[in-house]
């Protein structure tokens, strides 16, 4: 059970980082920068 929970957390972290990298490097966004949501300008473009 414990290992299952830990595995789940690690899997979620990997999926999150993978999705973020995909969005940042490969997906074209609208105006503004890459739309990673990190800096104010990219968040504004997402809003």
């Amino acid at each position: 059970m414990e290992i299952f929970v830990v595995g789940l957390v690690i899997g979620a972290a990997l999926i999150y980082l993978g999705r973020r990298a995909y969005k940042k490097y490969f997906r074209k966004s609208g105006d503004g920068c890459g739309g990673c949501g990190t800096c104010p300008s990219s968040r504004a473009s997402q809003e």
């Binding site: 690690i10 973020r20 990190t38 800096c39 104010p40 300008s41």
Partner: protein, 745 residues
């Protein structure tokens, strides 16, 4: 045409009603945009803050309107990247929707010059409304404007506004709806026959050559611009070039110069419009001039600039101590609570305490400094000092081929490289823009601050005191710039060969910083930092923990225990060791615990990898743990703090909560190799780490934005170049530091 009535729901979905905010730079467009849409677009008191099209929604009287905030432009001549964005939107080029209404945001303190763009834009034939902004500043400067008369002369509504306080915004919203229902158009300038006939000739010529349809406004750009988005398109058409020269000949024969005819005729038109509209009582802004005389002085201005910067970094260092202690205590408390709750599940306990809390908590400690830094940056931006600093820096930059326009992107880079890289769009010269983009990641962004604070606070302050520590922090913030400028010179001198351009920058009025803006910017950056800690850094912390925890074979512990007991038995009798190990709180038990922890990390996946790569960083004095920290921080610099927290926390007693990272770093020693037993973190190593972080491109988001603004080739070159440079500099610092310390000891 009434866009509010003519569009049905289906059409409205495809083509929303769009209002564009247009005007010169730094007239308050983004402030009005924020007020109209409720969004929080970045604003500051210097030109060139908005460099891209930003849109938001405004709801007025049951209808939803898309408001577009455009970068500032002095004219329709689109040379720089941000000016091209304006022309693309206004001309409906590159699949952009043409706005249904133009709202010109004009600076009431400088109306004549602001009206030049309005006069030019009349040729676009778009419905127009004017917001006469900064009326409070105009009154303060003794300027009286008869806005009703101006409205009658222009034939469009003129609304007086004060964006910062929101005065006149309700009227502006009402006027927008009214202007969409019954559009008003600006009167076009009456061109002399030589120009109007020339335009007809050009239109015919363009049609004959089979070019795409071109508007009246675009024909004027082809005719008058020496260099713009339109002239680039006609450069290849020799016949068209000849036609333009022929029209220019006609203009000359009428006693006008083709280079200045447009400006002369527009200003004549503006003067006739403003007759009896503006009254000015007395000299304007005498106090501003006297302040400028000091702040822009070659010697005093530079000294004041350096003094301001030094004071900021000193206070960053000295003021944030109590708040940092509070966060540290909170993290320690959370670790001890979580440790108690998860006592029966050692793997989960380690994940939560040593992975998540040590990683994220270690980064969050630096939130007070981030907030303070952005408090000072906001004060400088809002007061109008940034433009003065840019003017001063023009001299500093000109020798290496950059100009003062590079200063704003480079200064933005001190907060974050991403808006800095984007701010380079205001630079007209593509080569100067390229150099500025490549140099921006060298500026010491706020993500480097935690690394400096941790190392300076641990190794410099205790020995040399807080003033030297503050001075070190100040110097570290200029290491990147000190390397970037000579590098820009090399790039310009031998590769790009940029011709220096004249530097023109509008000096904004001095303003008292608005508390709302300052607090908002601090909140924005603080939120961003916390979001990063709770998302990217949290995820990376979990992965780093897993790589440092597994495979966690029991044989490692057995072997480490045997080694430990064997080593101890050389110092004391076996019975004494056995007795001491029975008590879990004894010093020997604690040492054994840490020894086993360290053995587990060394045998972990990341530990083995770090040991394999460590020889590459050995010349810079990095051990395998620092190497792991450096490698894990390539996606984002701050991750090194989280990684260090995890590495050193895993090797210490989990049940006792978080060990103070600073104390652990001080006590860290080499466990093998020629430096066995020596401290890992000597001053040369500490400075080598800081220099490496100052110069290395450890930010995935910056690489991505460089690729977007330039291309992947330059992004890769920048990444590889900065990483190699950082390594060379770190090795040089460590080796020379070691020589110096050996010489003096």
């Amino acid at each position: 045409m009434n866009p509010l009535r003519t569009r049905g729901p289906v059409e409205a979905e495809k083509h929303s009603i769009q209002v564009a905010l247009v005007g010169n730079p730094n007239t308050g467009k983004s402030t009005i945009f924020n007020r109209l849409t409720g969004l929080r677009q970045r604003i500051a008191n210097y030109p060139g803050v908005t460099v891209d099209r930003k849109s938001g929604r405004m709801k007025v009287a049951e209808c939803e309107i898309e408001v577009v905030d455009l970068p500032g432009a002095y004219s329709l001549t689109a040379i720089s990247h941000d000016e091209r964005v304006v022309m693309d939107v206004l001309g409906g080029r590159r699949n952009m929707q043409r706005p249904d209404l133009l709202v010109f945001v004009l600076d009431a303190t400088n109306l004549k010059r602001n009206l030049f763009l309005v006069s030019q834009a009349a040729e676009l034939g778009l419905p127009t409304l004017i917001a006469l902004n900064q009326m409070d500043a105009a009154h303060h400067n003794g300027i009286r404007i008869d806005s009703a008369r101006l409205s009658r002369r222009l034939g469009v509504p003129v609304i007086e506004t004060v964006g910062s306080s929101g005065r006149g915004l309700a009227e502006l919203k009402g006027a927008i709806v009214e202007a969409l229902e019954s559009p008003c158009f600006l009167p076009r300038i009456a061109w002399p026959a030589c120009i109007s006939n020339g335009c007809v000739m050009l239109r015919d010529g363009i049609c004959t050559l089979g070019c795409a349809e071109i508007s009246d406004a675009e024909i004027l750009r082809v005719l008058f611009d020496r260099e713009s988005v339109y002239t680039e398109q006609v450069q290849e058409k020799t016949q068209l070039r000849e036609l333009i020269l022929e029209v220019h000949k006609g203009i000359r024969s009428s006693g006008l110069s083709p280079g200045s005819a447009e400006a002369v005729l527009h200003y004549r038109h503006i003067e006739s419009l403003l007759e009896g509209v503006i009254e000015s009582s007395g000299p304007i802004a005498r106090s501003r001039e006297s302040i400028d005389r000091i702040l822009l002085h070659r010697v005093w201005g530079t000294l004041i600039f350096l003094g301001v910067m030094y004071a900021i970094f000193q206070s960053l260092y000295t003021w944030s101590g109590p708040a940092m202690d509070l966060v540290e205590t909170g993290t320690g408390w959370a670790q001890s609570v979580a440790s108690g709750l998860l006592a029966g599940a050692p793997v989960l306990q380690s994940l939560v305490c040593n992975g998540i809390l040590a990683g994220v908590g270690g980064v969050l400690v630096f939130l007070p400094q981030i907030l303070l830094l952005f408090f000072f940056i906001s004060l400088l931006e809002d007061s109008g000092y940034v433009a003065r600093a840019a003017f001063l820096m023009d001299k500093l930059f000109s020798w290496c081929g950059l100009n003062g326009k590079s200063f704003v992107p480079l200064l933005s880079g001190y907060a974050c490289a991403i808006p800095g890289v984007m701010a380079a769009r205001t630079i007209e010269d593509p080569k100067a823009r390229l150099t500025t983009i490549l140099m921006t990641p060298f500026m010491s962004c706020s993500a480097r601050l935690p690394v400096y604070i941790l190392l300076i606070g641990t190794f410099v302050e205790p020995v040399y005191g807080p003033y030297v520590a503050g001075a070190t922090l100040f110097v570290m913030h200029f290491v990147g710039a000190a390397v970037a400028l000579p590098l820009a010179w090399v790039l310009n001198r031998f590769i790009l060969r940029i011709k220096p351009l004249p530097f023109i920058l509008e000096m904004p009025d001095y303003r008292l910083p608005v508390l709302r803006n300052v607090v908002h910017r601090m909140w924005e950056r603080g939120r961003e930092f916390v979001i990063r800690a709770g998302t990217v850094i949290l995820a990376i912390s979990i992965i780093v923990w897993a790589l440092l925890y597994f495979p966690h074979q029991e044989s490692v512990a057995t072997q480490a225990e045997a080694e430990f007991v064997q080593a101890q038995s050389k110092q004391r009798p076996a019975v004494e060791i056995e007795e001491a190990l029975k008590d879990p709180d004894s010093a020997i038990s604690q040492s054994l615990f840490n020894h086993v922890g360290a053995a587990y990390i060394e045998q972990s996946f990341l530990g083995r990898f770090g040991k394999t790569v460590q020889p590459v960083f050995d010349p810079a004095g990095f051990d395998w743990k620092i190497t792991v920290g450096v490698l894990s921080s390539f996606p984002a610099r701050e991750v090194i703090i989280a990684t260090m927290g995890i590495i050193y926390d895993l090797g210490s007693d989990v049940d006792e909560g978080s060990s103070d990272l600073r104390t652990v770093l001080k006590n860290e020693r080499w466990t093998s190799g020629p430096r066995l037993g020596e401290p890992v973190y000597t001053l040369p190593v500490v400075f080598a780490i800081m220099v490496f972080f100052a110069l290395c491109m450890q930010c995935g988001a910056t690489v991505a934005i460089i690729a977007k603004e330039l291309n992947w080739w330059w992004a890769t070159a920048s990444f590889v170049g900065m990483t190699v440079l950082a390594w060379v500099a770190a090795v040089a610092v460590f080796q020379s530091g070691r020589l110096i310390t050996t010489f003096f000891s």
